[in-house]
């Protein structure tokens, strides 16, 4: 077996400064937001928390998927997923301000509403502050534990090349999969669906998953493409990018499928307790957001990614990845913000949290590419992965 060199990237002081600059600018703007209008700031905080956590946990899902299915093609770019997965603990930090402002975001957390509302009284055993916070910490502890175990084994393999570590990671991933399905559903119900505590949809968890999986796949594609264009992945082929493109295309369709399934069942049954959620998203300007969301998250990426050439064109993929990350942010905006206001809000606060997130992503990724090898050099499947051909 030919020897593959470790690749580490030196992050220039200028880039590090940009990252920290964005972080501090974001922190300042967000703090100002909490002072000016705590309610709007808290809702934006929820949105961006879900965005960051979703990308991180989605990356962990794809990481586990690689081990469970024994995929070979994705081994050379697996480290990107491992780097992205470490966004999860930072997302958890981002949630702390919301935990102190639960009653400004969640109607069920307000004592007078929860006490006077018959439905909320019945949901009280699940929707109450202490259990909510318990679930939050429980879920994040489980997630971070799996991230820690999977990435530690992977980096350890760089030095030792021990094949047993792949085996251990496969078993861990197999355990993680059902845990992931359960925890992500609870997470989505807690942070998304309970914003409208009367409303319920049994497909909500998988709807959230379809969006986050698309976004984290887009993040993986974006980081891989950018690193490739800077020459850090010299051995990647068009075939690898084709697979990324095909997966993106798949998940764009998957999102549309789930979103439509949710809509059609509610539309068909036409029950007031279910339709209220869509009615809120079809009035006061939200109808334009709804239509734009269909175009941005499905129609445009569908036709752009449909031809085979587009899935192999790295520039198209990079642009589409940025596009889909924006689409997911719009999707979350559409999911969360109608609970905040009857008309789509847009102000400086909607920008300040993304600035913070961009800074966090840059710092977390930058720190990792500097200290860890960009390619899992000890992985027994690496050589076959690099030779992967369609």
């Amino acid at each position: 077996m030919e020897h593959i060199e470790r690749t580490q990237i030196k992050v220039s002081p200028k880039n590090r400064l940009i990252g920290w600059g964005l972080v501090w600018l974001g922190v300042a703007l967000c703090s100002l937001g909490y002072i000016v209008d705590a309610r709007e700031a808290a809702f934006n905080n929820v949105l961006n928390f879900l965005f960051l956590a979703g990308i991180g946990i989605g990356a962990l899902f794809f990481l586990a998927l690689e081990y469970v299915t024994g995929a070979v093609w994705s081994v050379p770019i697996r480290r990107v997923n491992e780097f992205l997965a470490w966004l999860v603990p930072f997302a958890a930090l981002l949630a702390i301000p919301i935990l102190f402002n639960l009653d400004t975001v969640f109607a069920w957390a307000q004592k007078d509403i929860a006490a006077s509302d018959a439905l909320l009284r019945m949901k009280e055993p699940y929707l109450n502050r202490s259990f909510f916070i318990l679930r939050f910490f429980g879920i994040f502890i489980v997630w971070i534990m799996f991230i820690r175990l999977l990435t530690r084994n992977s980096t350890r393999q760089d030095a030792t090349g021990d094949q047993r570590l792949t085996k251990i990671n496969t078993i861990l991933s197999a355990i993680f999969m059902p845990v992931f399905a359960l925890t992500l559903t609870i997470f989505a119900v807690d942070w998304g669906m309970s914003l409208d505590p009367h409303w319920y949809s049994t497909i909500y968890g998988i709807y959230f998953f379809s969006g986050t999986a698309t976004a984290s796949l887009a993040a993986l594609t974006l980081v891989t493409a950018v690193l490739y264009e800077r020459g850090f992945f010299p051995k990647l082929r068009r075939d690898h990018f084709y697979n990324l493109g095909a997966l993106l295309f798949t998940f764009v369709n998957f999102w549309a499928y789930i979103a439509f399934s949710q809509f059609m069942l509610v539309w068909y049954a036409n029950l007031p307790e279910e339709t209220s959620w869509f009615i809120a998203r079809w009035h006061g300007g939200w109808e334009y957001i709804s239509i734009v969301l269909i175009l941005v998250q499905f129609a445009v990426p569908y036709f752009v990614l449909l031809p085979q050439e587009a899935k192999m064109n790295i520039r198209t993929l990079r642009r589409m990845a940025v596009w889909l990350l924006f689409a997911h942010a719009l999707d979350l905006y559409w999911l969360i913000m109608p609970a905040f206001s009857a008309t789509p809000p847009l102000g400086w606060m909607e920008i300040s949290f993304p600035i913070l997130i961009a800074g966090v992503v840059l710092i977390v990724l930058g720190w990792q590419v500097q200290n860890l090898s960009l390619v899992p050099v000890g992985d027994p499947k690496l050589k076959r992965g690099l030779e992967f051909r369609l």
Binding site: Y268, N270, R389, L390
Partner: protein, 382 residues
Amino acid sequence: MNMAQKENLYAITGLFDSPDAVLHAAEETEKAGYTKFDVHTPYPVHGMDRAMKLKTSKIGLFAFAFGLLGAVCAVLFISWVTIKDYPLVIGGKPFWSWPAFVPVSFEVTVLATSVLSTLAMIVLYFKFPNNAHPLHDTPYMKSISSNRFGIAVQADDPKFDEKEVTGFFKSLGSKEIAPVYFVPADQDMRPALFDPKFLGLLLVIGLTASAATYFTLNKILYLPPFDWMMVQPKLKAQQPSSFFHDGIGMRPPVEGTVARGYMPYPYKGKPEEAGKYLINPLFPTKEVLDRGQQKFLTYCSPCHGNFGRGDSRLQGQFPNPPTLLSDKVRSWPDGSIYHVITEGQNAMPSYASQVSREDRWAIIQYIRALQRAQHAHESDFK
């Protein structure tokens, strides 16, 4: 095969044991300058299209067109069924409820794409209606369909030379090299598809199946339509009925019937009493006069003229009425005018069904205003 002539040669084939070997062979064959060659494998081998330097397949465009066709046909068909052919109200939704069409249209799109793409492949590769290919039913193809990988260089390749190709395959490591010949009998074989017997049988089966379906659904399993709500033993407006001696379903109310909250006109045929006892309940306010003017211009002015002078707009098609401004009419009490509007007079029919009671009194106030305009008092000019 031994009877085959040299001009009947279709291709030289070589068999390999592994996908890597045939991939290598394909690369080398392409490099050697052959253009008309093909590779046959029991399953898709990754990287083959690039090794053979194939252009991007057109199958995607075909599939897209077929899918679009399926989607459009499905949407049009469902729309026609639900709007025109068999409109049913389902859950109080409009007939053209597009969200309900999406799943079916999606399925039809997938079905049309896959079935039509397969048919197109059969048509293009086997040159429909022919269904024979020289490579079919050869030991070469039999090996391919079990566990071998093969490559075939066609005899019509410009660089083709039987000995050269055989040597070339041998140098690539092929252990089984064989020529494949056209079978003349295959070439001009009439496709069994157009055999009159087959077509006749197809027709008989089709007719039998249709007839059986028709009789099963419409005769044997016939159910009377569930129209218990729509068809009821009651008479609807304008329907005839043999129950009544005059055959008319719609019955007039019993004589002397009075509608609720409605007092019948008490002075039928008694103009003097009407003039004596009826009193105009309205005062000539601006609203009453405006209302009276509007109704007068609508119902009265065609014959009586816009100012009540009896100058009809009907141009002699109908006898002109006398002027309303005469001393006679001016001296009438309001009740008499009311009686004329209600019952009619001479050639004038009753306006009771067109003009409501209140409007009649308003018209009278307006007529009084018209009369006053022609016979103004001194004080009116101040």
